[in-house]
Subunit: 457 residues, 2 copies
């Protein structure tokens, strides 16, 4: 129980140090095979036959190239197989030795499945507990580092929370067995909370660590394309393994912030007597003049996906609803079919809205969730300005107070959002004058403020 | 102020009595013209040329019939025009007389526009006020009945609330002017609350009525296809004037109940640590095997509209979200394109979900809003049963406590929903046995419980 505290904790020797390479000896090889496979798939999707099909005739350079690639791939696959077999043999031998040498009470402390029921707490709740308490939780092994035959550091993760686990005062067999569990595996851990000598910088729970008593495998991970605690920054790789990407605390935090934004939007509006509605997304004609729309085959007729709830919302006002809002689904047709597979939540979008604008960028979405308000204005449009200010400020305040914000910023640094308590409202002519005073070409600015349809004629 | 109380209030002489015919003298004629026009449009959409096109040649029976119909319509239109002109002449004369005879302070009590600013209260708030208080509100004239030259009863409506107004102690000119305002017009009314002799059964506010002091026209209604206080029951007519249909208190109530259901769903789940998500609605392949899906032209490729958030929700679980929910948009392709124009909110749907099932009924929707839950189950599936029971009971309890429920039942009578505090859970084999004991063909029952894909093979 003291081994951990005599070790310098934190980023130097903790499991999250990031200096070690992947502990999975097969990961690199698998990637090599995959990249060869991708190369072949690409070639065949371009209209070339695969090597297997062309070899019998033995014609052309492409066939020769494919054959070489196939040979290369086969060699790698063979190497993987033999390494796998060797590993499995070694592991089996180790397991046998452990079974012979270890007493039964130690053997019960680690196993696949065979869980002992106990009250499972969430890591978020563990953060508020005290040293000395025994806890049981389920978490993923984010990473681990075996320091010696009898000492292993683990980093356990559940959503945005991580805690350092210390495995010591046990047999080398158990340490070895735990070491062999792939990262991202889900384990059920029982242990005692203790105060580390120094705050643990690599975990979100700094002031506590867990002396692991037992660890059981709930669900083993396999086929990881990369180690999660150092996910790739490239969007292409992230979307290729979107599920793993989403596990990252920064993404978990983004989704929580996103939900908070919508909840705050709702709270402010409900307090003011707004009614939540959901409007139809199929429409018999395209609404709004500017944006492109998606066509749907509607039982042999053409329907359109709503690119805004505008018309139904306005209908609601004529129908006496007074004040309505929608967290609305709609669409924007972006040119990248890849966004269909995994929308970029980190753009702060909240759901689908459909808009068929072929603007050829990764950052343009065909589908998002809009936050829509429609209201009668008993007086004049200044009421709307005040309402929007109130909604936006409430959302800003709610997000700023979330601890999740810091988790996002650790990965994606950003400056503080600053806003004035009293929002400045600039009358249009004053705004134009300010632009003129700044030496801008005002006619162009006015043009930019208009919508396409209003100015194109 | 006493005139009203000396009259027997309520359904006998109140404005909502329903025994009178439409006060709009042009409404019936307009409808007659419309039905003739619809007849012609129908004929021409069936491939027949219109009368106008065929008359010069003077051939065939169809042409003769069209000509007759056209003549009929022209005659009606002429009659409408002359009646309109006569009415306008009479109104102008009345206005001139009023301008000559009335003192300025009375003239200021009724006018189009020219509103005097005052704190506008909602009718819902008026319900909690006391007799003797002066109030200003905006509402629609749902109906009115002139009892004598100096006494007019009005029913004012705002969403689910109605209050009886009494116009007396003023000039006959003002009563006449108010009488001429079409029902459904929005007016700003100033008056004093008073206690009626008997509770007013025709208004939602029974215990108070308004002695009208002044009444100003904010927005006049025109082209009403029917009088709202007695809307047609036929779905066809309701959808043809959906905006007017939605103004009915029963529909206002349905939308409020609908919003309450969703809010309760959210509240129960958020209390249990669920995270709200919104999943993509465009999908590169059809999900779930049973249901038909809508195809979308996605920049030259084919995409599908999600008929359920199933896969993205499951991805969230693998991505460690733990507990998620969605008020999800999706689609169901019903064969009636008419539902696109106006979804039947009174079916209790909450928004779009897309499902292309061509089942040829008005009651089957191509688009609805689903309430979706996905959660990890630390123990077993009984946890899910308990969760669903909790969610459903919370929704039942919330809806039952709403006064809006009675408003819906006044129009669409229904029995009380009864549920047990402890939901009976019947194990599957017991359920099968109960069916057998009941003399049912159990093999068929089992078949019906399965999904198409699971049992079709």
């Amino acid at each position: 129980m003291t081994a951990a505290s005599t070790q310098p904790n934190g980023s130097e020797t903790g499991p999250g140090s990031g200096s070690e390479t992947s502990h999975n000896p097969l990961l690199k090889l698998t990637h090599a095979v995959k990249s060869v496979s991708l190369g072949r798939a690409h070639a065949s999707s371009n209209g070339h036959a695969t090597a297997r099909e062309q070899l019998p005739e033995g014609q052309g350079r492409a066939a020769q190239k494919s054959a070489e690639k196939r040979k290369e791939k086969d060699a790698i696959a063979e190497r993987i197989e033999s390494e796998k077999a060797a590993l499995e043999e070694r592991y089996a031998a180790e397991d046998q030795r452990a079974a012979k040498e270890e007493p039964a009470e130690v053997r019960q402390k680690y196993a696949e499945g065979d869980l002992h029921p106990g009250e499972i707490v969430e890591l978020g709740a563990v953060a508020t507990m005290m040293a000395g308490q025994e806890v049981t939780f389920r978490a993923r092994i984010e990473t681990q580092r075996r320091v010696s035959a009898g000492l292993d550091f683990l980093l356990f993760r559940e959503q945005v929370h991580t805690i350092q686990g210390v495995l010591t005062q046990t047999t080398p067999h158990m340490v070895k067995w735990v070491q062999r569990r792939p990262t991202e595996s889900i384990v059920e851990v029982v242990g005692t909370l203790q105060k580390p000598k120094d705050p643990i910088r690599s975990a979100s729970i700094h002031h506590l660590e867990l002396a692991v008593d037992s660890i059981h495998l709930v669900s083993p991970a396999h086929d990881l394309p990369w180690d999660l605690y150092r996910p790739p920054e490239s969007l292409r790789l992230r979307t290729q393994a979107r599920i793993l990407d989403l596990r990252h605390p920064s993404n978990q935090a983004i989704f929580r912030i996103r939900a908070k934004k919508v909840a705050t939007f709702r709270r402010v509006l409900e307090d003011r007597g707004f009614l939540e509605i959901n409007t139809p997304k199929f429409q018999p004609a395209a609404t709004e003049s500017g944006a492109e729309v998606f066509k749907v085959d509607y039982f042999g007729r053409t329907a359109f996906l709503a690119q805004s709830p505008q018309l139904p919302k306005q209908m609601c006002i004529s129908a006496d609803f007074g004040k309505v809002y929608e967290v609305s689904e709609a669409s924007v047709a972006s040119p990248q079919i890849s966004v269909m597979r995994s929308r970029r939540a980190d753009l702060g979008q909240v759901g689908p809205v459909f808009r068929a604008e072929n603007s050829n960028t990764h950052r343009h979405l065909a589908e998002y969730t809009g936050l829509d308000i429609e209201t009668v204005l008993p007086g004049d449009y200044h009421e709307l300005i005040l309402l929007l200010c109130e909604v936006m400020k409430a959302i800003f305040a709610a997000v700023v107070s979330m601890p999740e914000l810091q988790i996002v910023r650790n990965r994606f640094p950003s400056d503080d959002l600053k806003w004035l308590e009293e929002t400045p409202v600039i009358p249009f002519p004053d705004g134009i004058q300010m632009l003129r005073d700044d030496g801008r070409d005002v006619e162009m600015e006015v043009f930019r403020l208009g919508t396409r349809s209003a100015w194109a004629s």
